[in-house]
């Protein structure tokens, strides 16, 4: 009974968050003093060297408004917007690559982003937690504070600075990696697969370094706190080895909050994707968004944002629902 109502409440929260999130993305551009249709007509006109007649423009405007769901008052637009997205996952066509639907563009880019970002997030999480565990468990020794120092040094560095520095060091001064990633198109062969991996290494390493610092610091803090728990002292008095205590007693219990942190950092994946893909010109949602932002391609931007809102909210939901299974200390009354 308790479990059912907990799950129902959490799913209710999830739906509410999605709803508010979609509403915010709907409202934002409408509060802005810019009309995408005007922009698009301007583009067409400059392409046609201003030879369009006034009637042709008016006709174009009506067509475009219908196409982009800008017809009617705000409320009608809002209802049709929700209907389109929730029921058919349809964000309309791209402005720049006109007949191509946004959802197809995003689905093409998604595997690249997810492949790179999920891999590096998980690696950063595992590495950071291991280093943090050692740094926290042996925090009374000077050598362990060196490990923490790595975290302190890495954590406050802004991501773009880290990325530019990595690019400078490993692609320019020591040209180990390519300056700009190139990716083969068409059928995937083992050779092409190797190329993809090689080209993904530099952005991957940068992402790992960026996520690493935070994990070290938080895991270290958690470990130190757990080490002081009475059951760890009891285990020591019982005569268990350092190793057993570190892995079985401290690690398992300190790890739990980090699982939640992992869920939250999945949300950061989309932020990270943007910068990574821009700086390393890696094909993915970030690059799609970058091109869209520059070209005023709003449909694409909304599609990408909606995807990230859904993904982040879903990740949070899944982790919250799984959490009681992992942590016996949590009780839902």
């Amino acid at each position: 009974m308790g479990v059912v109502s907990f799950v129902a409440k959490r799913i209710g929260l999830y739906l509410a968050v999605l709803f508010i999130g979609l509403t915010i993305t709907f409202m934002l551009p409408r509060l802005m003093p810019i009309n995408p249709v005007d922009g698009y007509i301007g583009q067409i006109q400059s392409r046609a060297n201003g030879t369009l007649t006034a009637e042709a423009i008016a006709e174009l405007r009506v067509n475009l408004e219908q196409l982009y769901g800008l017809k009617g008052d705000v409320f009608t637009q809002y209802v049709s917007y929700l209907k389109r997205i929730v029921l058919s996952f349809d964000f309309g066509p791209s402005f720049t690559y006109y007949p191509q639907p946004v959802s197809a563009m995003i689905l093409n880019a998604l595997p690249w982003t997810l492949g790179l970002l999920l891999t590096s997030t998980v690696i950063a999480w595992l590495l950071g937690n291991l280093v943090g565990l050692v740094a926290g468990y042996f925090h009374k020794q000077k050598a362990a504070s060196l490990l923490e120092f790595v975290g302190i040094l890495l954590y406050p560095i802004p991501y773009y600075i880290l990325a530019v520095t990595m690019l400078l060091l490993l692609a320019y001064i020591f040209p180990v990696f390519p300056l700009s990633a190139t990716f083969p198109v068409g059928q995937m062969t083992p050779e092409k697969f190797g190329m993809v991996i090689y080209n993904s290494l530099l952005p991957g390493i940068t992402l790992v370094l960026a996520g690493f610092g935070w994990n070290i610091l938080s895991m270290k803090a958690l470990t130190v706190a757990t080490t002081e728990e009475p059951y760890v002292t009891y285990a020591r008095l019982k005569g268990t080895s350092n190793w057993t205590r570190m892995t079985r007693y401290v690690f398992r219990n300190a790890l739990l909050p980090q699982v939640t942190a992992l869920a939250l950092s999945l949300g950061m994946v989309f932020n990270g994707a943007l910068l990574t893909e821009m700086i390393f010109s890696y094909p993915g949602i970030g690059l799609v968004m970058r091109t869209a932002a520059n070209g005023g391609d709003y449909n694409v931007l909304y599609g990408a944002i909606t995807i990230s809102i859904i993904a982040v909210a879903t990740a949070g939901l899944v982790i919250d629902l799984l959490y009681p299974l992992l942590d016996p200390r949590i009780r839902h009354k």
């Binding site: 810019i34 773009y160 938080s218 706190a225 520059n294 944002i305 809102i309």
Partner: protein, 303 residues
């Protein structure tokens, strides 16, 4: 991902190291002093320098072609000049000043909103809290950077530097509100709050006189972290070219350097100087905030 690390509740990671204080009292004071002192020295030098020096600037560094282009490092131009004919040293001084100002302005805004929202939600509770927290959770869920990019793309060109700050406030208050609420929740159960309530104090009085002094120490830490977050976000936008890149900031100097391929034309100083300045500033802010936290924790004797 460190670009938005402040979204992952910075207070949470800096609050927790405190248990160490019980186990090694002697060595911790040494550590605390080193962190806080080091951080404050960095901030003091950079802050004072960037606020006093602009008074002595020969010309406005954002004006292009004030000097010969691509001059090397010399006594006249401490860091040389860039491909736009701007003095890199002065550009950097103005950049640090503008970034710091923006950071402080945004942090003031975020701290006020977060405190009001978080304290009232945590203390009043009930349906009010549920509705407020729903909004907080949504603002946390909405990924900041894509939204900022949309806004940047929409208002680019016809915006002031302050608008950028306003947008960062709008999407940056939620995490802090969540932290403040968590503190308010635990405070609500303390004896001295009940004491005040039974003595006839109303909600407003309790919030201001009883709870606020208790959370103010955390506010300082949260404030510094928000400064860091705001500078970082603006700089990120600028690097992508979606902030007001004409205004010298730590991000815009890197934007121009990258745009003019400083890397390939051999102008390392143009790119490396702002990178070093930014890292130093961020390290200073980070050390100060964690140092403060440890200082407060050990003062309270919290274990």
């Amino acid at each position: 991902m460190s670009i938005d690390v402040n979204n992952i509740d910075p207070v949470a990671i800096v609050v927790t190291p405190t248990p160490a204080s019980t186990s090694r009292k002697g060595s911790l004071i040494w550590l605390l002093n080193v962190r806080l002192t080091l951080g404050l020295i960095i901030l003091f030098v950079m802050g004072l320098g960037s606020f006093i020096l602009p008074g002595f600037a020969p010309v406005d560094p954002s004006i292009q072609a004030s000097y010969m282009r691509n001059l090397p490092v010399s006594g006249v131009h401490l860091l040389g000049t860039n491909a736009l004919g701007q003095d890199i040293f002065w550009f950097l001084v103005f950049a640090i000043r503008n970034s710091l100002t923006l950071g402080i302005v945004v942090a003031v805004g975020v701290t006020i909103i977060a405190t009001v929202v978080g304290l009232s939600a945590g203390y009043i509770g009930g349906r009010f809290e549920r509705i407020v927290m729903l909004f907080v959770d949504t603002f946390i869920t909405v990924p900041l950077l894509p939204i900022l990019i949309i806004m940047g793309a929409l208002i680019r060109g016809n915006t002031s530097f302050l608008t950028v700050g306003f947008i960062i406030v709008l999407f940056g208050w939620a995490w802090d509100a969540r932290t403040v609420r968590a503190m308010a929740l635990s405070l609500r159960e303390r004896e001295f709050i009940n004491m005040a309530r039974f003595s006839g104090a109303n909600t407003m009085q309790i919030l201001l006189r009883e709870i606020f002094p208790y959370v103010s120490a955390y506010m300082v830490v949260g404030f510094i972290n928000t400064v860091l977050f705001a500078i970082n976000t603006e700089a990120t936008l600028a690097v992508i070219g979606l902030s007001k890149v004409e205004v010298p900031t730590l991000g815009s100097i890197i934007f121009w350097a990258l745009n003019y391929n400083a890397l390939f034309t051999g102008q390392y100083v143009w790119l490396v100087a702002p990178i070093i300045a930014t890292i130093t500033l961020f390290l200073g802010l980070f050390l100060t905030s964690t140092g403060f936290n440890q200082a407060f924790a050990s003062k309270r004797g919290v274990s």
